[in-house]
């Protein structure tokens, strides 16, 4: 299995798909990288030559923010929102949806598993 950008080991899929296993590389960037490295995007990752791999590696480190660096960047942006105590910062602190979604129902991704409250009317009773 080839190894690109440190830890990522994309498997035997076409290069444009395999590159997407890297955090921060999606469909658009994957194709873009192939074009920059002058690699056929449909060639399987296992068939990439050593020089092609290093070309990809070079492009990734120079032109893209990926993996740990990107994760850190995202965390920094959230921390900034928290620090200036704006509405979005509050929502991040509280662990509630940030972009104005409803919270009467749903929003379980942000709120986590349901915490049942004794004596609270169920959805069925409300109707």
């Amino acid at each position: 299995m080839p190894r690109v950008a440190g830890v990522d080991i994309p498997n035997d899929k076409p290069t444009r798909i395999a590159l997407r296993y890297i955090y921060g590389i999606g469909p658009k960037f994957a194709v873009e990288i192939c074009r920059k490295a002058e690699i056929d995007p449909n060639i399987h990752a296992k068939n990439l030559t050593e020089s092609e791999l290093s070309a990809i590696g070079g492009i990734l480190t120079n032109d893209y923010v990926i993996e740990g660096q990107l994760r850190r960047q995202v965390q920094q942006h959230i921390a900034r929102l928290r620090d200036i105590s704006c509405y979005r910062g509050f929502r991040h602190r509280r662990g509630l949806p940030v972009r104005g979604q409803r919270t009467k129902t749903n929003a379980r991704t942000r709120k986590g598993p349901r915490k049942t409250v004794a004596g609270k009317k169920s959805v069925k009773e409300m109707r």
């Binding site: 900034r80 200036i84 704006c86 509405y87 509050f90 409250v117 004794a118």
Partner: protein, 88 residues
């Protein structure tokens, strides 16, 4: 370029005039305002605003990080006081 970028930031004119006046005078008295939709521009940095939240005026001291946000984002309109019962 998106349409909103083309239109530029919304800055409340009256508030902006007040800001300029305050800066010329070197006056740090808080500026009372209802213009929650007004974008914070670099000129606002270092000033204190009293932003109405529908009931009271919340004090907002503008720092550099806040540029690009709107004044209303710093003056919450809802308050959650925890549910009855509480936890053990």
């Amino acid at each position: 370029m998106s349409r909103s970028a083309k239109k530029g930031p919304y800055v409340d004119e009256k508030l902006f005039r007040k800001v300029q006046k305050a800066q010329q005078a070197g006056n740090n008295a808080p500026i009372k305002t209802w213009a929650r939709a007004c974008t914070i521009v670099p000129e606002f940095v270092g000033l204190t605003f009293m932003v109405h939240n529908g009931k009271v005026f919340a004090k907002v001291f503008v720092t550099e990080d806040m540029v690009g946000h709107k004044l209303g984002e710093f003056s919450p309109t809802r308050m959650f006081r925890s549910h009855s019962g509480g936890r053990k």
